[in-house]
Amino acid sequence: MALIPRARLLAIAAWSLLAPATSSGQVVSREYEELLRRYQRGQRSAAVWALGTWRESDLDLQIKALQRRAEAVARCPTCKDLLDDLPLKAAVMLHADRDEADRPPAAGTEQPRRCPAGQARRAGQIAAILAQRGGTLEFARRFFLAMAQRCQWDFCLEAALQWGRDGLAQFPRDPPLLMVVGASLEERATLENAPGDERRRRFQESEKFLSDAVAGDPTLLEAAVRLGHVQWRLGEDESARLTLEKAVAQDGTPPLLYLAHLFLGQVYERAGWPDQAIGEFSRALALDPQRQSAAVALSQAYFSTGDARSARRVLGEALAYAGRRSERDPHWDYVASNAAEAEDLLQDLREETGP
């Protein structure tokens, strides 16, 4: 892609600012539009590479032009919809992919990764336009969700919260968006070393979002499991018990049911009901005997009753699986497991950018 001459850009910018917001007055450069079409035609890598050669300020002008077109369309519903001519889904994914390309992979499990920046912000600005248009609403909703999840997965929790909240600004009662915000707040409260009051406030905020998610979709088991766990973290043991007892009775994937039993066992254990705790931990372990967290919890529950023999047996069996587990324990990835599908979701969106 050829760079737009600076003088021309200045002219465009000046004209954009001065021109009346008529449907014909919004300028998106031909070069930018061609870039979007390349992405739309499936030449994604080339388009992503080419976008990387643009200056940030030039790109911001293009976004501004798109926004003005959108404003004009909104003001004149009967006028020709100029946005119909532009592949906006491709634009969203092009900027999102460029952002991903700009971020080197994390060096290891506990190593930080650079968080999404300017290109992601531009993708979000275009997605916000799509969120106002009937035919692309669902695309926009899933994009906000996927970006929030991607940020959460990369431990960019501030960014995850921002994406989630931006999404909720467009889709206020959407349960998956409510859940990703609740889960990001939960992760922050869990992992960041904040003072006690601040930590509690984050858990309380998380509880509110998760509670709204469950109210919006009572079949969303993951939100219910998280809600119960957060309530337990807050010391709201009775609420946690009720939430998780309902959760274990729901249909769900084995990893989610495993977590539900595991967390309900914790509620019983702290309540001083070791037999019930042992029952729940055993049910969790029965879903997959290789799971270490359930085994450790069960072992400790036995230990607390004085049954050291069972405690050691269960623990010994768990340690014997080390290095030969066929799957990771869902508890190990729990803090961000809701975000594990982010890349799949983004790939689905990419596939929808074609003509």
């Binding site: 290891g108 499990t109 506990e110 190593q111 869990t190 992992l191 070393n193 595991l262 914790q266 254990e269 702290r270 270490q292 967290s293 359930a294 450790v296 919890a297 072992s299 400790q300 230990f303 607390s304 004085g306 049954d307 050291a308 023999r309 405690a311 050691r312 623990l315 010994g316 768990a318 340690l319 080390a322 290095g323 587990r325 990771r328 324990d329 508890h331 190990w332 803090v335």
Partner: protein, 293 residues
């Protein structure tokens, strides 16, 4: 502290002890109690103390004690090593060298084992007097994954043997992010275990235990101190090695106090206090032990 047990023959039969299974942790009857104590002043360990220099109370009742030679009671040490990804590189090398120094400081009759953890907990070497096995295991340490320090410490405590001088040395360089257990459960297990716990938390400027003492640091420090051990915060690989050497050396410089509990209820929590009388020094010893009903 450890408490030796008298089992009736019937109980032994029921428990399957004769068939090679391990006896339960909780004793049916306490005969004698053992307390490991370390006495130091500003210059280092204090040697040459006699039984009469110590005052020990069990649930506020003073007990008659005798000193037992530490040589007659081998140590069973378990090294519990964080191998999460943040250990990669020089830190892992320093940890291996520190473990070697620790092994060098043990006596031949002492056992040592290696329990490694990231999110997964694994015996790389079960406790043995054969140092070659443990040294080979050290070469297999590999830095990858998250940190389940509470769960790993639980495993070491729950699997620690009774009747020997159990020593657990936990090394970690960061915050726990994978454990299912928390401080409350770990405290309870530590109280019910005989093991002496030392925790080594590597502190470095780029990834410190941030903002002063974190909840995890405080929990580990308190658990270690309640068992009679210490929380160590070496600030460099060289200091790390010194810490491990000092822990091993201190096992040979500890006083083993024995007494038959008198005037106290057998079951439940026994709060211990060990002080010096007529001698100066700071005593580090377990603050209590538990006997199940």
């Amino acid at each position: 502290m450890s408490a030796r047990v008298k089992f009736s023959l019937a109980l032994v039969g029921l428990a399957g002890f004769a068939s090679g299974q391990e006896p339960p942790v909780f004793r049916s009857e306490v005969e004698s109690a053992y307390v490991d104590a370390f006495v130091s002043n500003g210059e280092g360990p204090v040697h040459g103390l006699r039984a009469t220099d110590f005052e020990l109370t069990d649930n506020a009742v003073e007990q008659t004690i005798e000193l037992v030679s530490a040589e007659t009671r081998p140590v069973r040490a378990v090294l519990v090593f964080d191998t999460s990804s943040s250990l990669a590189g020089k830190k892992l090398e320093a940890l291996r060298a520190s473990a070697e120094a620790f092994l060098d400081g043990l006596r031949s009759a002492d056992e040592a084992g290696l329990l490694a953890f990231s999110e997964e907990i694994a015996w790389l070497a079960e406790p043995t007097t054969d140092r070659t096995i443990v040294r080979n295991a050290l070469t297999r340490l590999h830095a990858e994954g998250g940190t389940a320090a509470f769960d790993a410490l639980y495993a070491a405590l729950a699997l620690s043997e009774t009747g020997s001088r159990s020593l657990v040395v936990l090394f970690t360089d960061g915050e726990d992010n994978m454990s299912i257990l928390g401080e409350r459960q770990l405290r309870a297990v530590a109280e019910r275990s005989d093991a002496l716990v030392h925790v080594v938390g590597l502190r470095e400027t780029s990834r410190p235990f941030t903002g002063g003492e974190t909840n995890q640091t405080r929990a580990f420090r308190e658990i270690a101190e309640a068992s009679g051990g210490r929380f160590w915060t070496p600030e460099s690989p060289q200091r790390l090695r010194e810490a491990f050497s000092a822990i091993a050396a201190s096992m040979n410089e500890r006083y083993v106090l024995r007494y038959d509990p008198q005037g106290v209820k057998r079951e439940g929590w026994h709060a211990l206090s060990v002080r010096l009388r007529g001698a100066s020094g700071r005593v580090q010893a377990r603050r209590g032990y538990w006997v199940a009903p």
